[in-house]
Symmetry: C2
């Protein structure tokens, strides 16, 4: 592997000049520039990044801490981050933590070891305040999920407002017995969506019925969504609409309904969230809140970039707009003659 000094010899200049050419420092005479470039080509020289990193004290690598790339929601965000990062000359180091706190810490240690210049965190529990310790020292940004108590830059969607949109719509449809399938995880989005659910109900003087609030597992698995729906639909007075915290859960609810001989949306309205998981592969296509995942990723990178280069007047919080999309899994409430309302 040729080094910068090989190039210098070849071009009959000093290493400093080669370095100037490499970094486009203008103070190089065109013909010298040319000569150096020829030498670089000839030796097919590529600067050694370890050396440059050591000297510049940077890595041009960003860390992405994610619970599970297998989840398309995260995968889309990752793609957005990755594309922007590439554009700015950064590479992405991806750490799968499976939601494991020890692994999250292990990942963030990379910052201390100078293996990355900053990090984007995709799914923090609201109580992970230990993150502050790192955020105080290194550029970190939250994407999607964040810790309300901490003043760490974040990009997200307005989960509360989105849920209100959903709930207003369902209520508008005439439903009164509205259930929700939430999750056992501890994400801010989960809390906000549950709050949005309850608040909107109250606003319309509909009593919040705890039997109508059921939890799926931490990862919004299909199986747990289906099980949760069964719990809801097995009740004597069953709900006529279910607001699901994710599409996969909505899919599970629709499947459960089908197995119980209920038709969606005729007998049951189901609404999802995210719009990433097969919402339009099978009928009924799912009414859901579309999140701009890719853009969430892009925006996260931009903010992290600003943090790394401590740009003045950067955004500390960006809220991207969601889109409520009505499809086939929701319909007006119709009173059945044999039912009590």
């Amino acid at each position: 592997m040729p080094t910068i000094s090989d190039v210098a010899k070849e071009a009959n200049v000093s290493v400093a000049t080669v370095s100037r050419v490499l970094n486009n420092h203008s103070s190089v005479r065109p013909e010298t520039y040319e000569r150096v470039h020829k030498a670089i080509e000839k030796l097919s020289f590529e600067p050694n990044m370890s050396a440059r990193n050591l000297r510049r004290n940077e890595t041009r690598v960003i860390l992405i801490v994610t619970p599970n790339i297998t989840n398309p929601y995260y995968a889309h965000i990752l793609t957005g981050i990755g594309d922007r990062a590439r554009e700015y000359g950064y590479s992405a180091l991806i750490y799968n933590t499976a939601g494991n706190e020890a692994r999250e810490k292990e990942a963030l240690e990379m910052l201390k070891k100078k293996k990355a210049d900053g990090a984007i965190l995709l799914a923090c529990n609201v109580n992970s305040i230990w993150i502050r310790e790192y955020a105080d020292k290194y550029p970190i940004v939250h994407c999607s999920e964040y810790i309300p108590d901490l003043d760490i830059p974040r990009v997200s969607v307005d989960n509360y407002k989105a849920t209100q949109d959903v709930m207003e719509y369902i209520i508008e449809l005439g439903h009164k017995r509205i259930a929700t399938i939430s999750s056992s995880n501890n994400y801010i989005s989960t809390h906000l969506r549950l709050k949005g659910y309850k608040d909107t109900l109250k606003k319309h003087d509909i009593e919040v019925n705890n039997d109508y609030i059921v939890l799926a597992d931490d990862e919004y698995s299909f199986k747990s969504g289906k099980a949760a729906a069964y719990k809801l639909l097995d009740q004597k007075i069953r709900p006529t609409a279910i607001f699901c915290i994710s599409d996969t859960i909505a899919l599970g609810a629709i499947t459960a309904a089908k197995e119980l001989g209920l038709q969606v949306p005729k007998d049951l309205t189901v609404v999802g969230f995210d719009d990433v998981d097969d919402t339009t592969k099978f009928h009924p296509y799912i009414t859901t809140v579309a999140q701009p995942c890719y853009e969430l990723g892009e925006e996260s990178f931009k903010i992290l970039y600003d943090c790394i280069n401590d740009t003045k007047d950067m955004n500390k919080e960006v809220i991207l707009s969601h889109k409520f999309v009505v499809r086939e899994s929701s319909a007006p409430f119709v009173k059945r003659y044999h039912e009590k309302v």
Copy 2:
């Protein structure tokens, strides 16, 4: 940030000794070792990896070149690679190329720049022989897809044999009009599966009918799978079974069949491949070939690790076993009275 020499001062030893402690060189007196460790703790020192990398001429980073992490097939492999890598102290730099050759090259340049010690390639076209140029100089391993002409270590599944298994099963079921939905991409797996399809047909003296070979798009999209199925099912003498090159395509085929009023498997047998995309979320559950994605990833890392440390007698090719799993989308051929066979 404290450096090794800060630690040395604190512990009243030389930097060499600290380095020895850091790297567990046995020749350090227990009490010295202890003292150094105390100093490390006290200063909460972490070695600077840029410096270590420069000195050791390694990065402990591996490159993963993938077309699209959004595809769960790749996401599972990535998880397998990542888990093993972490275990061995490596980090994973992930490059999304969208199948773009320029980006693939750009990714591999990272090797030259010493940003990674080796690379795992997830989806190469059979004719990308330019890869050899890199493979000659750097540790590279192919996962799933590979270039038959090149002598690059690889881990894969026996696509030809797996297809034979599928076809023998379908034929055994009594089907004669067997179609396939292949892909327009140029992967070795695609070629091998198509060959397996044709060869098994011939072996059983069933004529290969070109009208029964239709292509989905490069990425096996649901939409293109559905369109391909329509092309097949619109024919006057329609096939009674379709072997699909992926599960998503199988899902598309089932949907198309349903829309055309055909029941799967009663009127049409559909078989998929991979067993990663929602094969058991909706009925009929899909009969398919299960690939050990996670293990494919794990194995790839192991081989790459051996390459990097040029281990003797390492495996140059490992074939992991697939599993043919019969579910609900396939059934014996039943002659309909109004049909010609």
